[in-house]
């Protein structure tokens, strides 16, 4: 099971802050998970067509497209940081 979190503009666009997802068959990287979610959810797909990039963290560390994903991981999707 993956624990998925959504923050800020990503959370608002999807209408939810978190969910659990059975690790989809064949998904081992960030890019594969993003591809799976874009196919499964039209709102998630639209986010990736917008001008604001969507960042990904795996187990609270920012990951790139090649980052590995395994069962039990905590995944988060969010826009670029704007604190300070």
């Amino acid at each position: 099971m993956l624990q998925i979190h959504y923050f800020a503009s990503v959370r608002e666009a999807l209408g939810r802050g978190e969910e659990q997802l059975e690790l989809p068959a064949g998904v081992t990287t960030v890019a594969e998970l993003v591809g799976h979610l874009r196919e499964a959810d039209a709102a998630f797909d639209r986010l990736h067509e917008g001008s604001r990039p969507v960042l990904v963290a795996v187990n609270q560390v920012v990951a790139n497209r090649l980052g590995k994903i395994a069962d039990g991981d905590e995944i988060a999707f969010f826009p670029p940081m704007s604190g300070g």
């Binding site: 800020a8 959370r11 604001r52 826009p79 940081m81 300070g84």
Partner: protein, 157 residues
Amino acid sequence: MQRISVQSEDFDVGAEYRRLCSDAPGAGAVATFCGLVRDYHDAGSSDAVRELQLEHYPGMTERCIGECLRQAQQRWKLLAVRVIHRVGSLRPGEQIVFVGVASHHRADALQAASFIMDSLKSEAPLWKKQCSSSGEEWIDIRDSDREALSRWSAAAE
């Protein structure tokens, strides 16, 4: 000694300064920075900001700020560091962020405080939403903030 807090409550700059002094008995310099909520944002409209909502990723925020401090400790000789970042609903004029650094000499304290601010703005998972009379809007990082951070990597080479 380093302390990190992500909190909705306000903080007392004087109390934080005194605690830095007691955390770092041999210090010859304490640099403090306090950021306030502005009543405008230059990327948006000219509408006055009524409220800023700060959202963060609990756990990862503290971890990322800790990583910024670890990098600062590697570059400068620091005796004590304190970072406070507020979250939740804030109004213009309120304190939003505090960075305090105690060191033997002023250059280390001043540079480290500046580096910590630049890096936490781009690296810590915090997001600002601005509310004004024309509506609500998520704020994007400024190019100048990205450039401020990249200057430190150029300086390390």
